[in-house]
Symmetry: C2
Subunit: 129 residues, 2 copies
DNA sequence: TCAACCGTGCTATTAGTGATAGTACACATA
DNA sequence: TATGTGTACTATCACTAATAGCACGGTTGA
């Protein structure tokens, strides 16, 4: 399910959060689908259950999953609520990236068009223009 | 010159690297301009000189500045060389951000247009289209 | 020449935290 | 009741960010 880099400077639990978040965002994990149990995933990845739990706790805090004691952890259907804050954060990242691309002499508009075309191919969505 | 968050999870030297990198990218610090001496900046920010040195070393390693023992540290005129690797990394970030924006129901194209217009206003550059 | 300033390198120490191991408890379900 | 689930807690180890302090060599100007 995952590939982890135990030697990375980035903490394992953080890598887990990002990977699972990506799976949710890209609809690989669908709404209300059950995530692997803490101990099971820990066994598969041969890491400590506490690390998985920390990742799940963080994902729940960020609004991507919900956990039910005695039942399991599941993908949250609508990541409702604080879309605005998240969107603002993404815009800041985007602004920084575009600035750096311009500094490097690249043409962000071209690159962005290529990326969106790629995403369109992958998922069959309708690119807004 | 800077504002640091000593309580941040992000290391101080890493914050320094990012801030100075932004100043260079945005042309606030111009090519061959001398950066504050390690001990001076440490004094202003009331942090340890070693922390500044670590940030400068990292910036030199990333190709944003160059240091001359006995003289000082300066902004590297052309961040030559590994533009390609950096650009690929930026494209990956961009792809991830656009995916997440789409997931959040936003229209990345609109947002990007707005950001570029903003950058155009700020710096008077010519946006490529 | 010499004092002042510069980057650089090193050791040692402290504080914080990621990750592990192990145990325990409460809830859900067959 | 037995099993599987999330959750909570303590303790320990390892790594590292950050600090303090010292030393060295190159540069510059008086």
């Amino acid at each position: 399910m995952f590939e982890l880099d135990l030697r990375s400077r980035s903490p394992v639990y953080e890598q887990l959060v990002e990977k699972i978040k990506d799976l949710i965002i890209n609809n690989v994990l669908q709404p209300d689908e059950q995530l692997p149990a803490v101990r099971v995933l820990a066994g598969e990845l041969t890491i400590n259950p506490n690390t998985i739990q920390k990742a799940y706790r963080e994902l729940e805090h960020r609004g991507y999953i919900y956990s039910v004691p005695g039942k399991g952890s599941f993908v949250k259907p609508a990541v409702a609520g604080d879309h605005d804050a998240r969107l603002r954060a993404l815009e800041n990242e985007l602004s920084r990236i575009i600035s750096e691309m311009l500094y490097l002499g690249a043409y962000p508009a071209d690159i962005i068009t290529r990326i969106q075309t790629q995403l369109f191919k992958d998922k069959g969505g309708q690119p807004h223009d």
